[in-house]
């Protein structure tokens, strides 16, 4: 209890070595691009078939995502696509291990650039991985 309250009173990311300030430090263009997605509507699918729609709030290196003002979409039938229910959940944390898909709400032009960016990123990521193996 005590530790929690001290965390609350302090600025949580000013002097904690584990959490670095979101807007500084990292010079990667991908991270800069990722930062631009903050507060955008994001739709995340999880392994059991549900979707969560909320505002992109936070992500860490492991790919765990926090959504704000999230609502849950679930199928009411196992067999066929069917109406969805939407209980609202507030702040939710979706572990990377449970995430099966991730979509952001964006304009059509942006969609093109994001996919090309992803394509470019994937190639870069792929070649880096290759380098690692070699």
């Amino acid at each position: 209890m005590e530790t929690a309250s001290t965390q609350n009173t302090q600025d949580p990311h000013s002097d904690s070595p584990l959490v670095s300030e979101g807007s500084s430090g990292n010079s990667s263009p991908l991270v800069a691009q990722l930062r631009k997605l903050l507060f955008r509507r994001m739709l995340i699918g999880v392994n059991d078939g549900r979707f969560f729609l909320g505002l992109f709030h936070c992500v860490d290196k492991q790919g765990n995502i926090i959504l704000q003002d999230a609502v849950e979409y679930r199928s009411t039938r196992r067999s066929s696509p069917s109406p969805m229910e939407q209980p609202s959940l507030g702040l939710i944390w979706i572990p990377a291990s449970c995430r099966s898909s991730c979509h952001v709400d964006c304009s059509i032009e942006e969609h093109m650039s994001l996919s090309s960016l992803a394509y470019w990123a994937m190639r870069l990521f792929g070649s880096r991985a290759k380098l690692g193996i070699e």
């Binding site: 990667s28 991270v31 078939g49 290196k61 196992r78 952001v104 992803a118």
Partner: protein
């Protein structure tokens, strides 16, 4: 732009089945773009421990985010069960009829009824409605059952009963710590036609009792009854099943009547409620008897902790269907009460309600307070407590009958004030009336909550006492020569002041004794607790005697008429016996405090050796609320220490506190002969006094130095007066 969203649907997919992304529209002129590869790449560029977040991010808030797919937090986590009630029904989870074989259908219907009863008791015991009663698919879609008269009638009345109980508990607002109880969000709790539940039930009951008569009739008469269809196909089992149904249906009917009668204004339904309680109890006994028959014909293997009488698992229930509606609590694994325990729970509830029905309307406030304390001794559950509170405080009046200002004037023994406008409008009286209402409501809550709230309202009572005292001094300070007769105003103020102080000390004593019930004190604290109790009891007695003196003074001056004398002497006897009882408490608590202090001083037992907090700190922790409210004034740890520091065994033994208590008890026994509750209390006190007197003498004779002597404290005879037990190790 939905078609854009639809276009994106093809991009997603897991497990090879089409995901209906199309039904989740993106914004205007926007589409859902797959961001997973991009995010994966970007995350790869992050440093260890680095987060990407906006300016409104707080790590503290983030820690309270719900973790999706964690079964302890995510109430919607996919389980192996059905996705929705409709899907469950389509898959035959809740068939109607329950079986095409009429005998099995009847068996299963009884199982559903029994399981529902177990669910209901579990709900009363503090679990969510969604995961208990409304785990029943039949209840979730009650219209489906209309073709099955038996099941339909039972479901309807169960739902109506749940509604009645929720509204009672919500109205009483006694459920501060049990607020889960009234959460019914998203459940089909209210439906059309539930007001007809009794007539539906009655006609079903009528049919079954005719079926019962038919199967018992001698064969010669059977012909006449042949047009009546039997309940099921096996004639040997007909009687047993009919009886099993009848007691279940009748229990529901009478229980519903009990609830309706209890809600009648001004306690007008109490008499009738009592009759229905008796009927309920006898039907419960019949239900219990049906267990043997149902076990003998059951189609499965019986388990002891089963939720049905037959021991079979019921059809038509699915706990997981509703778990997402149990928010805001995380989904909990619920262990339902067994059917036997559920029957036991309802028996207890009905006994508590029966006590409630015996409440004499038009009571004195003092009697009401004592009634509530007595009622709480059996530790009644929420439903019973809520009904007591609704009975006591209705429309801002005691039992919906008397305004609280009149209740106070009665308590002051100044009947001439009853209709006095000025008295009713007096700001102190208005405030005190409100405080009394609060006090009554608090006394109906559970012990833990009650104690906390009593500690808080002590402040209010003590403040108003101080204000009364100030006002009294200000107005009458210089009028000491005025005879009381000449100044009604002064008399009322004085009475009011004494009465308010008396209530304050009564609350303090209740606060202290509840600590024993809640096991808040450790044996090393008992000395200071008894000492404080002693101080409070002394003040309480003082105020009580002052009030009695003031009112008898009053009646003497008025020159009572002759016929009032007998009534008066009866009341005086009652008053003097409650003073004597209090005197007995004083001796016992003083005796215990001194004995414990002497044991600590002479034998070095019950000594405080905690490394975390010293004796003074513990004193403050226990009595902070009392001290803040100055109940009583000038009481401090040092005073406690002063009065106990020099306690010695021989001195305490010489003082003979326990012998004094016994002497009073002997005289009290006669005066309480007609009141079993008080008589029991006195007998308990007698045991406490006797055992402690002997223990004290033994220890005193052996002497404190004998280290083989072990003294322990037990609450075997009284809930808050301990008995010292001496043993040689």
């Amino acid at each position: 732009m939905a078609n854009h969203g639809g276009g994106a649907a093809g991009e997603v997919g897991s497990g090879g089945r089409p995901l209906p992304l199309s039904s989740i529209p993106a914004g205007d002129h926007t589409v859902w773009a797959d961001a997973s590869p991009f995010i994966e790449a970007a995350c790869n560029d992050l440093q260890d421990g680095e987060l990407v977040h906006g300016e409104n991010f707080s790590l503290f808030a983030a820690m309270s985010a719900l973790e999706i797919m964690d079964p302890k937090m995510d109430s919607g986590v996919e389980n192996s069960g059905y996705c929705s009630v409709e899907e469950a029904i389509e898959n035959g989870a809740a068939p109607i009829p329950l079986s095409l074989d009429r005998t099995i259908d009847v068996q299963r219907t009884i199982d559903v009824m029994d399981h529902l009863l177990a669910c209901e008791a579990t709900w009363h015991k503090g679990h969510s409605l969604a995961q208990t009663v409304f785990s029943c698919i039949y209840l979730l879609r009650i219209e489906r059952t209309s073709s099955h008269a038996l099941l339909h009638s039972y479901c309807r009345i169960t739902r109506a009963t749940c509604n009645a109980i929720i509204s009672a508990v919500a109205d009483a607002r006694t459920h501060e710590e049990e607020d889960l109880f009234t959460m019914a969000y998203g459940l089909p709790l209210k439906g059309e036609g539930d007001e007809k539940c009794l007539s539906i039930l009655n006609s079903v009951e009528e049919t079954i009792s005719r079926q019962l008569r038919a199967c018992k009739a001698p064969s010669s008469k059977k012909k006449a009854l042949e047009d009546l269809e039997s309940l099921q196909t096996n004639p040997d089992l007909e009687e047993g099943y009919c009886r099993a149904f009848l007691c279940r249906l009748r229990f529901r009917k009478h229980f519903y009547h009990v609830l309706m009668c209890l809600r009648k204004p001004q306690g007008r339904g109490l008499e009738l409620a009592r009759k229905h309680v008796a009927s309920c109890l006898s039907e419960l006994a019949s239900m219990y008897k049906s267990l043997e028959f149902l076990r003998s014909v059951s189609y499965g293997s019986a388990q002891e902790d089963s939720t049905t009488a037959s021991g079979c698992r019921p059809v038509g229930f699915d706990v997981s269907l509703n778990s997402k509606l149990s928010a805001p609590t995380p989904p909990r694994a619920i262990r339902l009460l067994s059917w036997k325990k559920a029957v036991g729970y309802f028996e207890k509830l009905l006994h508590d309600l029966n006590v409630l029905c015996a409440f004499t309307l038009d009571p004195m406030l003092e009697d009401t307070l004592r009634f509530v304390v007595q009622f709480q001794k059996s530790q009644p559950d929420l439903v019973a407590r809520a009904h007591l509170q609704l009975l006591l405080v209705q429309d801002g009046k005691l039992c919906g009958r008397d305004f609280f200002c009149d209740v106070i004037s009665k308590a002051l023994a100044l009947p001439e004030l009853a209709k006095d406008q000025e008295f009713q409008k007096n700001e102190f009286v208005v405030q005190l009336g409100q405080l009394v209402i609060n006090l009554l409501k608090i006394l109906c809550t559970n012990s833990a909550w009650q104690r906390r709230k009593l500690g808080k309202i002590l402040q209010d009572w003590s403040v108003i006492s101080m204000q009364l005292e100030l006002a009294f001094k200000r107005e009458f300070g210089e009028m000491l020569n005025v005879s009381i007769d000449e100044n009604i105003c002064m008399k009322v103020s004085k009475h009011l002041l004494i009465w308010a102080q008396e209530q304050t000390y009564w609350i303090a004593s209740r606060f202290l004794t509840l600590g024993f019930e809640l096991e808040l004190y450790s044996p090393t604290d008992y000395c200071m607790v008894y000492w404080y109790m002693y101080v409070v009891f002394v003040k309480l007695l003082e105020k009580m005697q002052m009030r009695i003196a003031a009112s008898s003074d009053n009646s003497r001056r008025k020159g009572k008429k002759k016929r009032d004398h007998t009534k008066d002497s009866g009341r005086d006897a009652g008053v003097s016996s409650s003073c004597l009882l209090l005197q007995c408490y004083i001796f016992l608590s003083e005796g215990l405090a001194m004995m414990l202090a002497a044991l600590c001083n002479d034998c070095k037992v019950f000594q405080m050796t905690s490394p975390f907090n010293g004796e003074e700190e513990r004193f403050v922790q226990h009595f902070e609320l009392l001290q803040k409210a100055q109940v009583p004034e000038h009481i401090s740890y040092y005073l406690f220490k002063d009065s106990t520091l020099h306690a010695r065994l021989f001195n305490v033994a010489k003082h003979n506190y326990f012998r004094e208590a016994q002497r009073i008890i002997a005289s009290l026994k006669g005066s309480f002969s007609g009141e079993p509750d008080k008589l029991l209390e006195v007998r308990q006190l007698e045991q406490v006094a006797e055992h402690n007197r002997i223990a004290l003498n033994v220890v005193n004779q052996v002497g404190g130095q004998d280290s083989s002597l072990k003294v322990s404290l037990e609450f075997t005879h009284h809930p808050y007066f301990a008995v010292a037990v001496v043993k040689r190790s």
